[in-house]
């Protein structure tokens, strides 16, 4: 067989050019992913001894077995799922609300749009600190507002063992909702206005138009943003650390907080590494499952 002759010799193929361009990325990603992962994998199979300084001896799966019997870690898993479930739902719903409202013709819409992004630019740890001033019993915004409105008479303690995780979820949703809003606003741009006109001619009310025109078109944005916020929530720790410190007791300790406590407060490095691996595994499985759901939804629903 004769190879087809190229009209012009190509200087650099896509393949080689891409590799040149990607070299720095590959190097840094490797350094930040491969190194810590392989080190903590090694560490998780060790046992640490504090005789004559810190030493490690091979311990096999003891640390992993220990984790399964660690009540704090086992408890932290449902707490994490509660935290993730609540903040993702809240952030997505609030974000959707913001997007729908700001998609309407409105005076000063551009300014408002610019401003509502700001909670997202604030870091997770600062979100925790800011919201601690919202919940504070004596100088907190919430008690001050409710008292001014005459709804309550004496101060309420908001961060209680029962609802500590809810207080964090609300704070985290505050931080994440703007991101969701921008995804939805982007998605709304792709809906042809003809569809609304058509629906109105057919006599569809606001709710009906929302359900059968807007929502189906936002399916794709919804999937992407849900996955993104799920991952960001599952891996987060900063907000919990500054807002509740995982407490009261361990009431709002997600698994990342238990890793933090075991590794850096109790200095159980090898054990912390094993816990990290459980956390990484759970997060990665979560991502893969959601990713599969998303690509499936994408293949079926399409985008525009």
């Amino acid at each position: 067989m004769r190879k087809p002759q190229r009209s012009k010799p190509r200087v650099t193929s896509d393949q080689t050019f891409a590799i040149y361009l990607l070299l720095p990325l590959i190097f840094f990603t490797m350094a930040l992913v491969i190194y810590p992962l392989s080190y903590s994998l090694w560490l998780s199979f060790q046992e640490q001894i504090w005789i004559g300084g810190l030493r490690y001896v091979f311990g096999g799966l003891t640390q992993y077995a220990k984790a399964l019997k660690d009540p704090l870690f086992i408890n932290s898993i449902p707490i994490t799922f509660r935290f993730v479930g609540e903040s993702v739902t809240l952030a997505v719903l609030i974000g959707l609300g913001i997007a729908l409202a700001l998609n309407q013709p409105l005076q000063g819409r551009k300014v408002i749009r610019a401003l509502i992004l700001l909670p997202w630019a604030i870091s997770e740890f600062a979100t925790g600190i800011i919201w601690s001033f919202v919940y504070k019993r004596d100088v907190g915004l919430l008690n001050a507002m409710l008292k001014a409105l005459g709804i309550i008479e004496s101060d309420i303690v908001w961060i209680t063992p029962k609802f500590a995780i809810e207080t964090v979820s609300i704070a985290f949703a505050w931080h994440m909702a703007p991101l969701a809003a921008f995804f939805f606003l982007a998605g709304l741009q792709f809906i042809p206005t003809d569809l609304y006109r058509q629906a109105r001619i057919d006599g569809a009310g606001v709710v009906r138009r929302f359900l059968s025109v807007t929502l189906p078109h936002l399916k794709y944005s919804m999937l992407v943003i849900t996955i993104l916020i799920t991952v960001m929530t599952a891996r987060s720790l900063d907000t919990i650390l500054t807002l509740t410190g995982g407490g009261p007791g361990f009431a709002s300790s997600t698994f990342t907080n238990i890793v933090y406590v075991r590794t850096f407060k109790e200095l159980q490095f090898a054990y912390g590494a094993a816990l990290s691996w459980y956390v990484i595994l759970i997060v990665v499985i979560l991502v893969i499952v959601m990713f599969m759901l998303m690509t499936k939804g994408f293949a079926r629903g399409g985008r525009r």
């Binding site: 393949q15 080190y39 409202a101 700001l118 740890f125 998303m294 690509t295």
Partner: protein, 292 residues
Amino acid sequence: MAKGNRALLYFAVIIIVLWSFMPIYWILNLSLQFESTIYATPTNLAPLKPTDYWYRRILQLPVEEIEMAGASVGAMTAEHIGRGLKNSILVALPVSVIATAVGSLSGYAFGRLKFKFKNGWLVMLLASQVLPPVAVVLPFFIFFLTLGLLGTLHGLMIIYLGMLIPLVTWVLLGFFAGLPLEIERAARIDGCGRLEALRKIVLPMAAPGIVAGWVLAFITAYNEFMYAWILTTGSFAQTLPPAITGLFFQDTGVPEMSAAVMLSLLPVLALGLVLQKYIMQLRIVDPVTVVA
């Protein structure tokens, strides 16, 4: 739109604005008062006599002599915030610039070129963003301890580069994929080399996206908490996030703490406004389309 709907819309917008800003307004309110008025009953919803005392103290500006009891701010707050702010900018600025330069190149590669294992690389890229910092910081702690990088800005910068380059790549690849192909192709036919076409044609077209990528990278580096907390706390390289959190955990007075937080927010709030101007063009939704 019907009149009733219009009213409902304005009502919704007011609620949204309140929800987004009340928490920030509240620390502003607290930061402009003295402790004596903060604990008053009923709580002051706005400062009656706003004072910039706490800001002046933290910024080490001269303050008027006041006879307020308990209105003393630890010199520690001023020192920590001052040094933290300087360190944060010393880290975030170079790191975000380098990450944007490198990330633009790889973003272009992912968005425009066909190569082997592209999806595999993309998954790797995604994976590097998924790992919880608290779960990977320990190896760096040990590594830095042996190399003497613990408590230095350089150590932190290396980690931030590794964190930001994939982020910028991810954010920009959709943007590059969306640029019109024809102009680049025409330049190539006219005898432009690949690198030349990239430099002269594609990068200028991509400028808005690249600016947005830089702002995002800067904000992310400036805001980063966990690595800085573990690797720089208590050292001279302590950045702003651990400095503020440290003060917060030491039960610093309410108005003083609020002023410190407000000050630390100013740069990101300003950059956040810049970012939103470009964020719609970023098409951050698109990377998933490239993979799927």
